[in-house]
Every structure is written in structure tokens, then in C-alpha cells.
Point group: C2
Chain length 301, copies 2
Amino acid sequence: MSTTTAGIDVPSGEPARIPTPEPGDARLARLSLNQRSIPSWSVREAVDGCVRAGVPAIGLWREPVAETGLDRAARMVADAGLRVSSLCRGGFLTDPDPAARGQALDDNRAAIDEAAALGTDTLVLVVGGLPEGSRDLPGARRAVVDALGELVPYARERGVSLALEPMHPIFCADRGVLSTLGQALDMAEPFAADEVTVVVDAFHVWWDPALDAQLTRAAGRIASYQVGDWITPLPADTLCSRGIPGDGHIDLAGLTSAVAARGYRGDVEVEVFNQDLWAADGADALATIVRRYAELVAPHL
Amino acid sequence: MSTTTAGIDVPSGEPARIPTPEPGDARLARLSLNQRSIPSWSVREAVDGCVRAGVPAIGLWREPVAETGLDRAARMVADAGLRVSSLCRGGFLTDPDPAARGQALDDNRAAIDEAAALGTDTLVLVVGGLPEGSRDLPGARRAVVDALGELVPYARERGVSLALEPMHPIFCADRGVLSTLGQALDMAEPFAADEVTVVVDAFHVWWDPALDAQLTRAAGRIASYQVGDWITPLPADTLCSRGIPGDGHIDLAGLTSAVAARGYRGDVEVEVFNQDLWAADGADALATIVRRYAELVAPHL
């Protein structure tokens, strides 16, 4: 017996609000563990953890996949019967320097190949921030549009969609100049609905006054729905500032219903970057994720 | 001789990039010191500091004005010949509890009276975050709209416009559910252009992909243009995370030109909340502000 059913939430240390659902529980049918929610786990450990907990899908990251080896990782998830809901991440396409740009395009083609090898049709793109020393935000955004045009044919041939992830404006300068779902759709719409898609991540988009209208526009183009929470006060390291679903201010019931109402039928990744969660035992962290998802997200799908 | 011409920028300690403009320099004609950029100064000290540095306008805050006494503060700025570019701040209108709401409306009426007494037609509204324990973001936003309807007649009679300040989405949960200029204009447009206006603060809006289009829509309704900068890594205390103009990622030349092109002819407040700046000597801080404004903002007005 692992500690996953101990009934203590991490990182809060508070008693769990619901019992941990058993593997096979219908509420877990669309849950995916985004691998970076438990970064201490290798691909092997994450796959085994998902199987033990009854989580049927996983969102993989390129770095741990590379550490394991692409083919081995692909076999592990296939042998375990897990779906790969997405591969994170391509992108970083804003640098106008020709050499940097060529390198970024090469790297994205490699990421597309890896997605195909892993059996997922969704490569998440974090588009990149302002180039070093630049204040040309429109220029950085145009560079992303240009790069999409170059990458789409390559991705299409491999059955992989480029999934644009709008990021919270807190990251505009240093990580993602793509700031709203509306902007992502502006970039996506010149392409077919299975060529360029969008990621709806609760942490990144919850504040957007245009969100509901843009979700309507996004119907048929949502490749991934990810959940986390916005907690205050914001932790000092903004990169790791996300909360476990239920610990923050986001109306996950409302957002999940809204995404479902637009026809989204895919897996739902729990993606939480949080130092306290990361410091916890992996199985305990996953049990908390499973409970929160079953309580707060699954009923609204 | 004060240290204001020492030619060292605060908080960086680096040599100043341009000489400090003398009082009367045409570049300073529209500069306003937002009082919270130098919170160690009383109203008396801020007024004297502005006069010495040749800064012709000041953005006042209610708390230091109350400490000085409203009538005394009004006399100080009038006697010094300073314009009051704005009074900060009313708002905090999102709590649906009837008692809290009544108190907030009373407080805003008092703020309107204070603005009129100080001789400014601009009361900046920070609308407030989610009520304690609430995840109802649309409800919080509706509460602001409702409150505007109640406050506008009172403000109109006193010649004060309610200036809606969209805040960076980093503050959506805990300070301001008004997140974009477009959303502010949606709230403002049912009212006359001198009744409900908007604040364009570079720190809050620079990331917005819809900014240029919304500035066009905002023409005639911009009551205040405020400058600061977005620095990375973001300081741990997000409330004090602003940079001095020129220290960060914002294209102040482009934004200033864009605001000017929409016909804005008012004062430009330098508003920087930054612990390092706040720890500096007031006169040194103001000299840095004056130099950066003259170098980076004034040429584009």
C-alpha cells in the first residue's frame, strides 16, 4: 500500500476533502498528469505512478523524454496503455537573428518528430518572450506568425498539430509574447483546424474578460485543456507560482463547463508548477491531483 | 546645491545617461510626479521637491493628503503653482455585501469631494479584486459597472471624472478585476466622455495585443497617461515590481507616440512602485525620474 490513499493533501498538509478515487473510477477517464507537475519523477516513474493511480493519460516533456530515450519512452507509455495527451514543448520562435531562428525551427521540427514518435498529435508551443535587449513586441509576435508558416507543412505530414499556448501576461517579456486566447486564434485561423490549434490553460487565461467569447471562437481548435489555479500572494518565483486546483481564485467549475460546452472531448491535464508540490513525495502529489481533479473538474466536463 | 544633479541614477547607481534638465526646460512641461513614486515624502516635501526640480504637476494620493489635511494640501499645491494631474484613488467596488458596498460608495463620494477640493478633474479608480473567498469574476466586474452608475451623477456635479484604470492581469485576483483597456472602455462608453474616463498606465497595458486598436477607441477618454517599466526577473513583491522608465522591456517611445497620436495633451505621471527606488533619497529619486522622462518620454509626446 502506497501513501497515495493517506488522505492528506500536499502541499497544504490538510485532510483530503474527498477519498482518493480508485483506478477505474469513471471520474478519472479523461485525467492526464502533466509530467512537470511531478518533476522528480522520470518517465518510468511517472508512467508507473499513473498506472497505479488509475490516471489514463500523461502530458510528456521533451527533456525527461530525452533522458529516458525517445524510443524507450514511447514504448513505456504504449506498453502501459497510457494516452499521451501532449508533448511540451516547441516554440521560442521570437528571435529575429537568422542563425537563432534557423536553430529554433530545427528544434521545432525535432519536437514534431518526437511528438509523432510518442503517439500524440499535440505539440504545445510556448512561443518565446522578447529577444534579448529588444522592446519590439509587435515584431516578436510577427516572428511567431512567420515561423508557423514554415513549420505547419512539416507538422501536417507527421499528423501533429501545433498547439499555441497563450500565456499569462506576467510572462510576456520573458517567456511568451502570446498573451490571450484571442491572439492565439488570430494566429491559428489562417491554418486548418487540425494544423494550428490552441491550448486553454486555466492559469494563463482565467482573468481574460474576452475569454467566453474567444472560447466560442475556439470551438474545434482546442487541442488541450489544462488546469491549475491562481494563488495569492503570488509566490516569489513567478515561474512556480501555480496552485493546485481548488487552492486559488479560479472558477474551475465555470471554466471547465465553458470548455466542455464548446465541444472539447479530450484529456484534461493537471499542470501545476509549484515548489511546495514539487518537494512532496510523488505518489502523495499525484493522489492530491487525482482527488482535486475528481472533485473540482471531472463533474463539469 | 542638492544632490539632484549628482548624475547618478537610482536605484541602479549607474551614471546618468543625460544631464538633469534644469527647471524651465521645455521637456518637463507635461511631467507629473506621482506621489507614490517617492512615498517617503509628505505632501509638503513632494511639492517642494517638484518646485525645485521644475516638475510642474503632481499626482496626489489620498492617504498622504489626509495626513497633511485636505485644505492645507490644496493650498500647498495651489500656492506652489503645481497642477494636480490626478488623485489616487477611489474604487474597490467589487464586494457584493450591502454594508461593504454602501461603505465603498461613501468612500468614493468622499474621494470625489477631495479631488474637487484639490483642483483635479481626475479621480483614478482601482476597481478592486475578487471579494474574499469569491471566484465569481463576472459578478465582481458587474458590481463595478453598477457602482459606476451610482457614482457618476455625484462626480459630474463636482466636475470630476471617474478614471478607470485597467490593471495588469497579475493583479486580477487581489486588486483590480479590470484587466484591459478594452474592458475599461466597455464600462466607460455608456457614459459621457468627461464622466467616465480611462487611465493608460504603461506597466499595466504594455503587453496587450489589442492595445493599439483600443487606444484608437479611447481617443477623447484618456484622462491620464502614466509611465513606468516592466522589469525581469519580476521582484518578489509584485505590488512593488515596477521599474524606472528605461530599465525594462516596455517600448515607451512607441506607446507614448501612440497615446499622443490619439490626441492626449495632458500631464504624464511617472508612477513607479519599487522598493529600491523607495529606499533612495527623495531628491535623487526625483532627479532620476526627471532625466528618464526627458530622455525617453517627452520627445515622443
